[in-house]
Subunit: 251 residues, 2 copies
């Protein structure tokens, strides 16, 4: 087993605006990428406009490497993707950002260093550079408006790479130590308190409808995923409105 | 069955920079969203800097609605998410962008209009606005560098919403009408041509190793997913290198 490879390199071919290089660095670091490679940046390097736009992602700019050719920039990589709006006159696999993220992760797990090529802002990658890549990567956007800023393109792809190994729970509730979720006994106790108070107030006028109404109320409060504190608060609400403590006694 | 609802509204609460409103509009339209709502934009509305930054997403800016309060901006919505870096002193579900996209899509399919709240650039949403939402949405970025531009935050979330219903094949090959994929008979014919030429050239010196070497060569060319045109080209390559046409005759 090889050790997993480092995160993918981002290779900008002939980037024009220093500001875009800076916002690319920021998007990279947001997603945990740090290996930035620049092929013939138009305005030279270092570029103060890049630093100003990086919003603190200086680490990425300081360690960026400069290359004369795309071939030199990817020489040490084993798997390379080329971002393109459309592929002309070339038979090559075309992958979505999500499929690209899975492909990158599986190769990195096998110890293969990977990289992603981005072309100049206006024109995109030339065919010769796309030809160097193992696959083309196209972002399926609104067909009526596909114009994506360079840093936005880097962000979407770096984001998909990051999420592919992210373990954040899809949904969680922010219970803290002082307000843990109520257990089912406490919840049942609350339901009974409410139902006693409603019985005493004559709420269930039609006895035949009582079971369904009770079920609906219980479902509502179960869906709310109450904390212990909230259960105590609701007992207080019932007492305040009805004057009835749990067990039927006056408050 | 209700008709599916329109795509989610993007609600910017007290956005400061016109430029950010413009780049938000661009990110929205990239992903097919058009319902932009602004609550007390700092520099008034309309804002020429927003138009300059929208890079052609004028439609979104022209139809943007202005509100005095967050409550008014979301009054017609049935499900609302609030973007926050962290949730303080509030018991609420917290979802990832991917889980949010699934939640939005399922509610939209049931005809529920949805929206996503974004706070001012520096300070984020106040607790009172988060409290209006059904769930909080947090983007799990590199913990060492979570600073995300407003338009980048909108882009990531709008992207996840778009991908959740995107039908683009994860991977495809760009065969065209003039170069369809070769069928297996054509491929087998190519293999036999190559193996005849290699036999004639004495390539398989150790007969015991021949089956494995043949398998490896066949695997390599199968993995390349050749087009019909490429099969013809490779027949030509074999003839050129070996002087041997298919069937063993001289070229």
């Amino acid at each position: 087993m090889s050790a997993p490879a480092a995160p993918p390199a981002i290779v900008l071919v002939e980037p024009q605006l220093g500001e875009n290089i800076g916002t690319v660095a920021r998007a990279m670091l947001n997603c945990g990428l740090t290996d930035l490679r620049l092929v013939r940046p138009r305005d030279g390097w270092p570029n103060p406009k890049a630093v100003a736009a990086a919003s603190g992602a200086d680490l990425v700019l300081e360690t960026a490497q400069i290359y004369e050719t795309t071939a030199a920039a990817i020489a040490d990589l084993g798997y390379v993707l080329a971002t393109t709006a459309r592929l002309r006159d070339m038979l090559k696999p075309v992958v979505t950002p999500r499929a690209a993220a899975a492909a990158l992760r599986s190769r990195e797990a096998a110890g293969t260093r990977c990289g992603i090529l981005f072309g100049p802002e206006r024109s995109g990658l030339v065919n010769e550079d796309v030809g160097l890549a193992d696959a083309a990567l196209t972002v399926p956007l609104n067909p009526a408006f596909t114009s994506l800023n360079l840093a936005q393109a880097v962000l979407l792809i770096a984001w998909e790479w990051r999420v592919a190994a992210d373990t954040t729970p899809a949904e969680r509730l922010t219970y803290d130590e002082t307000a843990p979720p109520a257990d089912k006994a406490k919840l049942l106790n609350l339901f009974e308190h409410l139902e006693e108070a409603l019985d005493a107030a004559g709420f269930f006028r039609v006895e035949a409808k009582r079971p369904a109404m009770v079920q609906n109320l219980r479902a509502l409060f179960t869906r709310a995923a109450l904390s212990e504190q909230e259960v105590r608060t609701l007992h207080g609400v019932i007492v305040a409105l009805s004057g009835l403590r749990k067990g039927g006694g006056p408050a």
